[in-house]
Amino acid sequence: MNPVLPSGLPPAVGDQEEVARSITSSSWIAASKGRIKHPAFLPAPDDDTSVFRCSGLSADRIRTLIPTERVTEHGAAVVRVDAVRRVHLDVVAAEPPARHANIRGWPVGADPDLRKAERKRVALGIAEAARHVPWPRATD
């Protein structure tokens, strides 16, 4: 078994690590205070929330990790892994691309609306612990 991933990171994602989620909608940031709203962390239709392990990286470096089609002007939402695990989800390494991971373990249920409500409750808990990382402005 490989002790490290191609990125050089360990396969197990630590509680103290931070992960970044690309903000692909301006509606995921509260207009007044730059607060992250919970839809930023809801999973894609495949039930994973795609994130990048970003501990110790600058905003510029985080931006280079994210696939081009998912980089917007809105920056990223960054949260510690222990905040994700506190709401009974997990963060699992999923390379390539380098440093990629998925937030997994979202509630499942037969009623799609009830499943959605439960996922919203979980995502609210993550968003409360998240911070907005804007991209640095280009300088002349």
Binding site: S22, T24, S25, S26, S27, W28, A30, A31, R35, K37, H38, P39, L42, P43, A44, P45, D46, S50, P67, E69, R70, V71, T72, D111, P112, D113, L114, K116, A117, E118, R119, K120, R121, L124, G125, E128
Partner: protein, 166 residues
Amino acid sequence: MTFVALQPVPYTSHVRAPTTQSAEAAMAHRLVASVQNRGAAFVSQQPPHEAVLEDLERLVADHGKPGWDGDQAPGVSFAVREFAAEFIRALPETVPAPELAVDPDDGAISFEWRGGYRKVFSVSIGASGRLACAGLRGSDQWHAVLGFDGGRMPDDVVRSIRSVVD
């Protein structure tokens, strides 16, 4: 930590919605219910949350096509837009305006009220027209699904909004 699961409340309109229905059938039912609920007290005034309706139109314009997130997100459908507009029109003027967002998993419109750290309540309305609700208030947290017929706002929604913003 306290977990509270609200019980779904019955439809309040005298026009009852079937429990399972297509988005088109749900839309037709709600149009009838909406007209009936407003008929007795017809007034010619702007809805109290007109600015939120404008926010909705901007969101729909920006998130109408699938893949708006650069990945798999469904676009906001016509039905979702109509359901969301009905929800906004039904919001009492006594509650503050919500912040809107688009959900990446199903193209639903999310409405959020926040009164501070871990004082937040949110409702998503998607293609079924039902209200997927969730809230945090300190260590309390809850989620529920509520019916909404396009007319009167469910009391549990108004109570939950007030519990986080008052």
